[in-house]
């Protein structure tokens, strides 16, 4: 943290100690704008719902310190289309239709403790640490904050600081807020929290750095009195055991890992937390508790990395690989990216008889200002005071300069904030918008991830599918009947066929291409291949695996895009041309839109300066389906 920034934080925090009293939060019933999914009959063909399952409020230590004072109520209001305030005072409003489902996921370790430290009547405010935390001395603030961050990470219960009564009390408020806003048929809310484990991989550096093992815990319905946090154990396997017990006690839950991209090789490691070989029991417990992984969010993409996928021209998308709060890059060679983990999972099936990495995909925001920042045109990033302006994000030169010549960005902007993304959504195919239907869809992995666009995507695998189904009005029903949707296992001995159907988001760019990513193993070696399977603008594959360039352009002078390129929908039947009998494989779909300006380019355009030359000018928004696994039978 730069000195000037810390002073700014300190000032702002002092002021915030006396922020305007809000008027009484009247329990005014918030009418939901009727959307395509409001209060409808259950649909056996399933509807797609968009949500955000990763949201922080003032109850998180690393949100409160950056002047966030908004609450779970505010998070739900934002999701329903209302306007909330950024810590810097400007308005945050969701661009698209209201969200269909949400979970607030504050860090369970030291939940609510920073607010207590800043409340004069609380015993915690008398601590020397609290006085430092809310002082004007940037070194003291940083040191105090690191103490809390370190304790969250190490799971230590600092004597005289950690108070389970505060955690229990705030947790109850969180569960109650979810209960209050849940409207079956219209708007679904889950009780949830973040389990914030970090593996010390590089010795103690006093910061928050290390191998990120964070997970969000989402409850299907009722929740226990206390969350299981790092103060209970820093080993995620203990979290799974606790969840197994909770399930027995009637509190069904799943945990969803995120930011494997900065786990320093730990998230999908080929051994247990304590360095033991993986076993069948381990794999079964893991998939029982972790059917999904969050692969896109503000802190970058966890699909794959150019060094792992040299033959994938789109593997360099929104790569963010600096360990949390650290300039040190994560070890990407193994354990950080999901594509590689899928292949390792197939290897493990041969070795131990089960696949611990048998997961589907979602996206979410990880916002720390209660409102997810999904829209490139209007990006507010994630951590309140620190990255709430274009200048602090490094998308315009500091100090009102008009050019990038000779500019050195603050490390926080260069290493972190400028590399962050306007992303992402969790999309779920479910019969209705209710806790049960959406949670069950997540459990069967009928989900996909998007980078903040609302592409609609269907993906089915089967043995009896063919070309003619594409125009059949009953296609979806038949596909469910005779095959499996995204997230399913396709078990059989014949060659699999796939139906893929993608439709654009009316508020984003048209579609450019649809791809299938195949992952398999050959003689114990992980293999992958990217097949383009449907092209826009009449592009033909002609026996290759790549669409021709459709010529879609972005005009960087005003960020307008080609109006005559791209497709509103792409639909295809695809057979794997390289199918080998008896060979296990997993297949997932990636849909790419035409390019649009990245948020950093929009920031620069508004400020009348050139975009930061170190950043991509444009991006291709995308969606990734959960895989379908081909499981051959002898």
């Amino acid at each position: 943290m730069t000195h000037k920034l810390s002073v700014l934080i300190a000032m702002a925090m002092l002021i915030s100690g006396c922020s305007a009293e809000k008027g009484p939060d009247g329990d005014r019933h918030v009418a939901l704008a009727p959307g395509e999914t409001a209060g409808e009959e259950a649909n056996p063909d399933r509807n797609v719902y968009f949500g955000d399952l990763h949201i922080h409020t003032k109850n998180s230590f690393d949100a409160y310190i950056f002047n966030v004072r908004t609450t779970p109520d505010d998070a739900y209001k934002f999701g329903m289309g209302e306007t909330v305030k950024h810590p810097l005072g400007y308005d945050l409003t969701l661009e698209g239709p209201p969200l269909d489902f949400m979970a607030v996921t504050d860090h369970a370790a030291y939940l609510g403790h920073l607010e207590a430290m800043n409340t004069p009547s609380s015993p915690l405010s008398k601590l020397a640490m609290a006085k430092d935390m809310f002082s004007t001395d940037s070194d003291k603030i940083t040191a105090a904050f690191q103490l809390i961050g370190g304790a969250v990470r190490d799971g230590s219960k600092m004597p005289g600081v950690y108070d389970p009564a505060i955690v229990g009390n705030v947790w109850k408020q969180i569960v109650d807020a979810a209960e209050k806003y849940n409207q079956p048929g219209k708007f679904t809310t889950f009780a949830g929290y973040e389990y914030t484990a970090v593996r010390i991989t590089r010795g103690k550096d006093g910061g928050f750095a290390g191998g990120n093992l964070h997970r969000n815990v989402i409850f299907r319905g009722s929740a226990p009195d206390m969350p299981f946090a790092t103060v209970d154990s820093t080993n995620p396997e203990d979290l799974w055991s606790w969840m197994d017990d909770q399930r027995e006690a009637g509190h069904d839950a799943m945990s969803i890992p995120h930011n494997s991209n900065v786990s320093d090789g730990e998230m999908f490691k080929m051994e247990t937390y304590n360095g033991q070989p993986l076993t069948k029991a381990y794999a079964e417990q893991r998939v029982r508790n972790e059917p999904l992984v969050e692969i896109t969010q503000v802190k970058g993409t966890s699909e794959t990395h150019p060094s792992l996928s040299p033959n994938d021209e789109w593997a360099d998308f929104e790569i963010y690989d600096k360990l949390l709060s650290s300039p040190v890059p994560s070890k990407t060679a193994t354990g950080d990216y999901v594509r590689q983990a899928l292949a390792n999972g197939l290897k493990l099936v041969e070795k131990i008889g089960a696949d611990p990495f048998h997961f589907g995909f979602i996206g979410s925001s990880d916002t720390h200002v209660v409102g997810g920042s999904f829209d490139e045109k209007n990006f507010w990033s994630k951590v309140g005071l620190l990255d709430g302006t274009a200048e602090t994000r490094g998308s315009i030169p500091p100090g009102g300069k008009k050019s990038w010549e000779g500019v050195t960005l603050a490390p926080s902007a260069a290493d972190w904030f400028s590399r962050w993304s306007a992303s992402g959504y969790a999309a779920v195919w479910a019969e209705e918008n209710s806790r049960e239907a959406i949670f069950d869809a997540m459990r069967r992995k009928e989900t996909y991830a998007t980078t903040g666009t609302r592409i609609k995507l269907r993906f089915f695998g089967g043995f009896g599918f063919d070309e003619t189904m594409l125009d059949d009005p009953q296609m979806v029903r038949k596909a469910y009947q005779d095959g499996v949707p995204m997230g399913g296992d396709l078990v059989g001995s014949k060659a699999p066929g796939f139906i893929i159907w993608a439709m654009r988001d009316a508020m984003s760019a048209p579609l450019q291409r649809v791809q299938v990513i195949k992952v398999w193993t050959d003689g114990g070696e992980a293999k992958e291949k990217v097949f383009d399977v449907a092209c826009s603008d009449g592009g033909s594959l002609d026996g290759t695996f790549r669409c021709p360039d459709n010529g879609a352009k972005v005009d960087l002078s005003d960020c307008s895009i080609s109006t005559d390129k791209g497709a509103p929908e792409l639909k295809t039947f695809w057979r794997d041309p390289e199918h080998k009998a008896g060979q296990r494989a997993s297949y997932y779909v990636r849909v790419l839109e035409n390019p649009v300006c990245r948020w950093s380019t929009w920031d620069a355009l508004r400020a009348g300066v050139p975009p930061n030359p170190a950043l991509p000018r444009t991006i291709q928004e995308r969606a990734w389906s959960s895989p379908i696994w081909y499981v051959p039978t002898a």
Partner: protein
């Protein structure tokens, strides 16, 4: 007496009081200024806040801590005041300005209006309380990916079949979202299909199949099934909401006037840079 409700009068009075306090301050340092009273009401208030954070009631020990903390703070504040530590402190300046700002707002409180007056005001501001027009519609979709340049004629031919009573469910291309939507406002249709489509279908007549309408996805034949007109809300059912809006308006109007008057009592000199 109206004069005592006038915020400006309050400022004058507060100002006078401050001058007086300052005048007597040094003499008042004696016995009085050396007494810190922790009232029962204050203890009660502090305990409530404490319990709210800790999630349990304070024990005797906690209570003593709460009181000690209060006394300590009070003593420190008085000493700081004596030493003039508040001078030139940006944070304190801001906080004082903020508190004064609240006072201005709080003071500007009008008596509740009569029913007749409120209803008149409601009639002048009806649009604020209107529910937007909602439409229920069914659409038949034609994909440009499938039909290319023939798409217009394909859609026109389908319209003829629909007009002669063919079942819409069996016509057109599969659509990945829904084919029937119930009671959606234009803004929502724009978010789902694009603004041009939304504007077009909000001009259609009900119960007949439209000519082809373009959207972000392709062409559609649309039948409006029902129109819930923009409902002019009746006054009685939402009286409380109207009153709240009226009070908001009164408050912000009074506040604006009070601030203007307050600043008007100062001569503002802005020096230009040479």
């Amino acid at each position: 007496m109206k004069i005592f409700r006038d915020p400006i009068m309050h400022f004058v009075l507060i100002g006078l009081a401050l001058v007086a306090i300052n005048h007597f301050w040094s003499g008042w340092q004696g016995e009085q200024g050396r007494t810190i009273v922790v009232s029962a009401a204050e203890i009660d208030r502090l305990e409530k806040i404490w319990a709210g954070t800790a999630g349990r009631l304070p024990t005797g020990e906690d209570r003593q801590q709460i009181i000690d903390q209060y006394v300590q703070e009070e003593a420190l504040v008085r000493e700081a005041g004596r030493l003039g530590l508040g001078e030139g402190d940006t944070i304190i300046r801001r906080r004082l300005a903020q508190k004064m700002d609240f006072l201005v707002g709080d003071d500007a409180r009008a008596d509740d209006p009569s029913d007749a007056a409120l209803e008149d005001w409601f009639n002048d501001h009806r649009d604020r309380f209107a529910a937007p027009e909602m439409r229920s519609f069914t659409h038949v979709y034609f994909s440009p990916e499938k039909h290319g340049s023939r798409i217009e004629s394909v859609a026109d031919a389908a319209r003829v079949r629909l007009q002669s009573g063919a079942d819409w469910k069996a016509i057109g291309d599969p659509f990945i979202q829904k084919r029937s939507y119930a009671a959606v406002p234009e803004r929502e249709v724009a978010r789902l299909f694009g603004p041009e489509f939304a504007a077009a279908i909000f001009k259609l007549d009900a119960r007949i199949w439209s000519k082809p309408v373009g959207s972000a996805f392709g062409l559609h034949l649309v039948r409006i099934e029902a129109i819930d007109s923009a409902a002019q809300a009746g006054f009685e059912p939402i009286r409380a909401e109207v009153l709240a809006a009226w009070q908001d308006e009164q408050r912000s109007e009074a506040k604006r006037a009070a601030l203007e008057e307050l600043i008007g009592q100062y001569e503002v000199v802005v020096e230009t840079r040479r």
